[in-house]
């Protein structure tokens, strides 16, 4: 049976673009920067309304992060945008020194995260960005699941004072969360109630987790699905309450095991409530070229993989 339905599929980056267009009209302190990827980042709407608040940096991401830090002086809220590989890994030290350690109110907003950018291959498919960003003290890390949630998150982070990493992607995925949702940073969302296994998913894997829960239900297994859109700060109370009920947990993300959502959950549970756990993610390897769905299947990042891990972890209870 269908636990969730949807009418359209859209890319999460377009949700970001829609959020930026909204901010161009509603928050005069928001400024945007982009490193030669306006079309890919869906910034046309923002630029159309607020060209004086847009800064083209050229293909120079390190400089873009520094300029963003400087723009905060005077009260602006810079949204620095590019692909996730170039906006995190390439400029880790700039973010560390000029943004995080300096406590600057910069929003680093990156598309094309993970395997689902597809054919461009591993040079562009960063699977380490959540880890890099969550290690920085004070950095908020958000990975919304669909168009509507990405738009809501984009609008919400402008009202939060402090550095944020917002991660989204290129492929079209089902739009199943409410259009008018209010995004609350750090507040996990229960999507499916269940008693047998907890599935904690983030980003594109949230829809796959719902599909997995449907498949499990057909086998008589009641999975609980929670959308962990904010990896840091982690909603540990929601996680603890759920795993106390189900007794086991699977995490699912388009990221390495190392440094991802799963490793944050494992660290928390190991210290507070040791629980059998399985991981859906990329296990210490780079990606490769291919169609997004082919890659997600090859690397075990889809509903079938979540089902298999759920059955495996339940046997460990």
């Amino acid at each position: 049976m269908a636990l969730f339905t949807y009418e359209t599929k859209k890319d999460t980056r377009s949700g970001f673009g829609a959020g930026m267009e909204y901010l161009s009209q509603h928050n005069p302190k928001v400024v945007a920067l982009c490193a030669d990827l306006i079309g890919s980042m869906k910034l046309e709407g923002f630029i159309k309304n607020s060209s004086e608040r847009f800064f083209q940096t050229g293909i120079a991401e390190a400089n873009m992060i520094g300029i963003s830090a400087g723009l905060t002086l005077g009260g602006f809220i810079p949204f620095a945008t590019t692909f996730a590989n170039f906006g995190t890994g390439r400029v880790y030290d700039q973010i560390r020194q000029s943004v995080a350690y300096s406590g600057k109110n910069v929003k680093i907003c990156c598309s094309h995260a993970g395997l689902t950018l597809g054919e461009d291959g591993a040079t562009h498919q960063i699977l380490e960005d959540i880890g890099l960003m969550k290690m920085l003290p004070g950095m908020v890390v958000i990975n919304p699941c669909d168009y509507n949630q990405t738009k809501a998150a984009t609008i919400a982070i402008a009202d939060y004072e402090g550095p944020v990493y917002l991660r989204f992607g290129r492929p079209v995925v089902p739009v199943f969360t409410p259009e008018d949702q209010k995004f609350e940073i750090g507040k996990a969302l229960h999507l499916v109630e269940g008693t047998d296994v907890t599935i904690l998913a983030t980003g594109h894997l949230v829809w796959e987790a719902i599909q997995a829960a449907e498949a499990l239900l057909d086998k008589g297994i009641k999975a609980e699905v929670i959308n962990i859109h904010t990896i840091k700060p982690l909603d540990v109370q929601a996680i603890l309450t759920s795993v106390k009920k189900t007794g086991c947990v699977v995490t699912a993300e388009e990221h390495q095991y190392n440094g991802g959502l799963g490793d944050s959950v494992a660290q928390y549970l190991a210290m507070n409530h040791p629980t059998p756990m399985e991981f859906v993610g990329v296990n210490d390897s780079f990606g490769e070229s291919g169609k997004p769905a082919e890659l997600m299947e090859k690397y075990g990042l889809n509903a079938e993989a979540i089902v298999a891990k759920a059955i495996k972890v339940m046997a460990r209870k």
């Binding site: 940096t57 830090a69 002086l73 005077g74 000029s98």
Partner: protein
């Protein structure tokens, strides 16, 4: 301010630098001494700083409607700390805590410890010019007519990000910015000419679209004249770069003409020998 007064303050700042570095037996005296004359001029004469009704400087992070200075080569932290304290941002007694546990005067400057006068962490080289450009653009967006200053090292010109920023500022007509390169010709592994030659910095920045000037960074009069000339060029469509020749260790004879004192603290005897060359003009902390 008269250059004689600036020189008096510089003498005290140089004493502070030596005593701070000696006090924790670590830090970077060479470049700090070399850039003293510039920073004293900026903070005591050239820059328009926010003050209260009594004339005391007041610090707020945004720094709107006042001139801003960004130190990109953050290892010359003893200098900026001394200048900020002597200018009245925080008590000079705090200089004694430099690089010691629980201090706000970290080895490299940071706003993380809420030290008045510091707006960005620096010391991981190559980042300050970008930050200064961003701050200058924020001023333009706010209709704020004040000026942004930024100091880099010549060794720092090795960093790629410097050249990203060098390309960006003229393209975006950031003409409320005066940047400096401390051309002391030295970096950690030796003379810049041997480690990684900058070749002709003036020609490079000119080719990038900057209005380039030169000055003697250890001559108070030349600093003042050049800064006046630079200020007259603000708002004309181009950022300004002043390449200033300095001597590392300037003011202490045995610390000059060598890169040896880049990151080495003087011992007790060396401190006494150095202090004997610098008049105590404002009272040691």
């Amino acid at each position: 301010m008269q250059t004689q007064e600036i020189q008096k303050i510089s003498s005290q700042v140089r004493r502070d630098i030596l005593r701070m570095v000696h006090g924790c037996q670590s830090g970077h005296p060479g470049g700090s001494l070399g850039c003293t004359d510039l920073l004293v001029d900026l903070y005591f004469s050239t820059m328009n700083l926010k003050t209260d009704a009594t004339g005391k400087v007041v610090f707020d992070m945004d720094g709107t409607n006042e001139d801003l200075f960004f130190l990109s080569n953050g290892h010359i932290s003893p200098l900026i700390y001394s200048v900020l304290a002597r200018r009245g941002y925080f008590p000079t007694a705090e200089l004694a805590t430099f690089r010691k546990i629980d201090t706000r005067l970290q080895g490299h400057p940071t706003p993380h410890e809420h030290l008045e006068g510091i707006r960005i962490a620096s010391g991981s080289l190559g980042q300050g010019l970008s930050v200064a450009i961003g701050a200058a653009q924020a001023k333009k967006l706010n209709g704020d007519k004040s000026t942004v200053f930024c100091l880099m090292g010549d060794g720092e010109q090795n960093e790629g990000q410097v050249w990203e920023a060098a390309m960006y500022a003229p393209h975006h007509k950031v003409d409320n910015l005066i940047a400096f390169i401390d051309e002391n010709g030295q970096q950690i592994d030796g003379p810049t000419e041997k480690v990684m030659s900058n070749r002709d910095l003036e020609a490079k920045y000119k080719a990038f679209g900057w209005n380039v000037m030169r000055m003697d960074g250890n001559n108070a009069e030349d600093i003042q004249n050049t800064l006046n000339k630079a200020k007259a060029e603000l708002g004309k469509g181009s950022p300004i770069m002043i390449i200033m020749k300095t001597e590392m260790g300037a003011g202490v004879d045995f610390m000059m003409y060598s890169h040896k004192w880049h990151g080495v603290a003087p011992n007790d005897q060396q401190l006494q020998d150095a202090l004997a060359q610098l008049e105590e003009t404002l009272g040691d902390y």
